[in-house]
């Protein structure tokens, strides 16, 4: 029994002592892959160098004005989207009202949709208390509304059409759906 085990052990040792035959093309394949990786890294480095290198750009006054006009257009477009109305497929639309009231202790949204109740829809302050906003669901219709600042001062929405007022206090109007 021991003889057989030693015989098997000898054959395993012989097998392990045989030299491993490598594919003769292996070295070339490895080196070509390494070279390709270096090329890719080189291209990335070149792009990064191009975008990060400071340079002087000459722009004609006309192109500068065009660029400024595009930027102003983007700003106006963003500013003109209030109140923002997102209409779902069915049911009321969600309308966000935003107003800038720096230093205000409280701001409420008051209008046709909450029976002109100053306590029904308080707005939340963001950005150091200057910007106040609230989101309300509104069914299709045309609503008059205003912002009530500190419970006593009425403020129209500068981002919405104003309506002629019967009570010597400003109001705005928002139309939802049709």
């Amino acid at each position: 029994m021991f003889d057989r085990e030693e015989d098997v052990l000898d054959r395993v040792i012989d097998q392990l002592r045989r030299p491993v035959e490598m594919d003769p093309t292996l070295d070339a394949a490895v080196m070509s892959r390494v070279a390709a990786g270096e090329d890719r890294l080189g291209r990335l480095a070149a792009v990064w160098d191009w975008v990060s290198r400071p340079r002087d750009i000459a722009v004609s006054p006309l192109a500068g004005l065009g660029l400024a006009a595009v930027l102003v257009g983007i700003v106006v477009w963003l500013a003109g989207r209030s109140p923002q109305i997102a209409a779902p497929a069915a049911g009321p639309s969600t309308v966000q009202f935003v107003v800038v009231a720096p230093g205000a202790a409280s701001v409420s949204l008051v209008g046709d949709f909450n029976d002109w109740d100053g306590g029904a829809t308080p707005m939340q302050a963001t950005r150091n208390g200057a910007l106040w906003s609230v989101t309300v669901p509104l069914t299709p219709g045309r609503y008059r509304y205003a912002f009530l600042v500190n419970g006593s001062r009425w403020l129209a929405d500068p981002a919405a059409p104003r309506v002629q007022d019967d009570f010597d206090a400003p109001s705005s109007v928002v139309t939802v759906g049709g």
């Binding site: 002109w116 019967d166 009570f167 010597d168 109001s171």
Partner: protein, 207 residues
């Protein structure tokens, strides 16, 4: 004896009933909570009259509540509700009795802004779809400074072929142009031309 005393008090009870403020239908509890009794009585009379004429009354209630919230004087609140009721009546005459409450509300706003009843009628004849957005656009354009005649001409021109979303986009474009300094009438004229060119090949949308 008791019986004769009851009969004697019956006319008195009838008299008291007759003297009770006559407001027709039950008063709106929202108004009862927010208006003093004299204002409530006058406003309720206007609302009852509007209800009998088949006019939408919710906007009248809201106008009275707005006045109460803004601490307006009683005569001011009554006058505002009465004026709105008259505008709703004029709007219905101009648009027809089949008009929806939303259309009448928007038309009343347009009338208040200075649009003529004749232009409202032209708009009704021109457009088979709901007029709410078109009328609201009309009122908003005038509020933005577009002369009523120019605003009416623009919206009536768009009414036949443009959908509500296109009319709303037209309004936004005009308001953007005005914000950038364009004269309101010019902004409306330029934008309506562009909108008409855009919709000329489009099929009118149906509600």
């Amino acid at each position: 004896m008791h019986r004769s005393r009851w009969f004697a008090s019956f006319p008195l009870a009838l008299g008291l009933l007759a003297l009770r403020p006559s407001t027709g239908a039950a008063q709106d509890p929202r108004l009862e909570r927010r208006l003093d009794s004299a204002t409530l009585q006058s406003v309720s009379a206007v609302i009852d009259s509007a209800r009998l004429q088949g006019l939408p009354i919710e906007s009248l209630v809201q106008r009275a509540l707005e006045g109460a919230a803004k601490h307006a004087a009683s005569p001011q609140i009554v006058a505002a509700v009465r004026r709105l009721a008259a505008e709703l009546g004029t709007a219905r005459l101009a648009l027809g009795s089949a008009s929806s409450p939303m259309e009448l509300d928007a038309a009343a706003s347009a009338l208040r802004a200075g649009v003529s009843p004749a232009d409202l009628t032209r708009l009704r004849h021109r457009r088979t779809q709901s007029l709410t957005v078109a009328l609201a656009t009309l009122a908003d354009l005038v509020a933005s400074g577009v002369p009523p005649d120019s605003a009416s001409a623009a919206v009536i021109a768009l009414a036949a072929s443009a959908g509500d979303d296109q009319i709303a986009e037209f309004r936004r474009a005009v308001e953007r142009d005005i914000a950038l300094g364009a004269p309101p009438a010019v902004a409306a004229a330029v934008r309506v031309d562009a909108a008409l060119r855009q919709t000329s090949g489009a099929t009118p949308r149906r509600p």
